[in-house]
Subunit: 162 residues, 2 copies
Amino acid sequence: MSSVADQLPSANDTYVANFGEKGSLALPPSKKVAIVTCMDARIDPAAALGLPEGSAHIIRNAGGRAADALRSLIISQQLLGTREVLVVHHTDCGMLTFTDAEIRDKLNHPDANHIAFLPFTDLERSVHEDVDYIKRSVLLVPRFKITGWIYDVKTGKVEQVV
Amino acid sequence: MSSVADQLPSANDTYVANFGEKGSLALPPSKKVAIVTCMDARIDPAAALGLPEGSAHIIRNAGGRAADALRSLIISQQLLGTREVLVVHHTDCGMLTFTDAEIRDKLNHPDANHIAFLPFTDLERSVHEDVDYIKRSVLLVPRFKITGWIYDVKTGKVEQVV
């Protein structure tokens, strides 16, 4: 199988040919919003949430966990002016399939014991936890809107839970 | 201005109506690749790199920094089978515009002193640093392909630097 790196220049040429006016977009997100969601391959947040280029910071990590997104959210709000956060977790998430003990056992290396892998056992509760984590941060701005959502990978539907 | 949360259900309805066959995609990325890139609003990694839904883990944070992506990369490789990493930083990045001292001064809270905000002063060097950081990790699999790239926000062009 050829690598993604090998295929990238040709795929990128097509994007560049249709780039249009996007070169004039400003650095700060026009909708003043940051999305925190999972790295999952099945999710296209821009398409699913209706956020075209230039409109939103999109922060993605395994699970869409808030603890891993905090540095980025501080920069997003304090330096780039966003005032809304959406936490979007999803059905069939890999983070529902293991525990810290299991992955540490698999890795079998002392360094793994210092990492919180942030799996969860209840999807809806994980959204509540991460919304609460972000609300509690003393390093974010005093007032901003925050909501929590679950994306269904079988249908593309997003439903609000917080 | 109405919030993104208010507008989301109607934008998502359009996505759901055109969801097609994507509900049958598998959890592990079909191209066995993880992308590490910036949260910047102007970047649509799936479109720019030619990665449709189902093909790639997409990890995004302020700057596309490796240190913040490590937990996600471990899960991506060790539990979900990816064997390639692309680090993609970009021109006009917000991380080129401040220092840790400046943001800590602005935040003016002791908790900020415990956070490395990971800004950089040289874009190409930042890609090399993050590729090296990922290569050095003892918690990733023994062999995988890794490359480093710079995305030009004015043209949409991606150029390989590592």
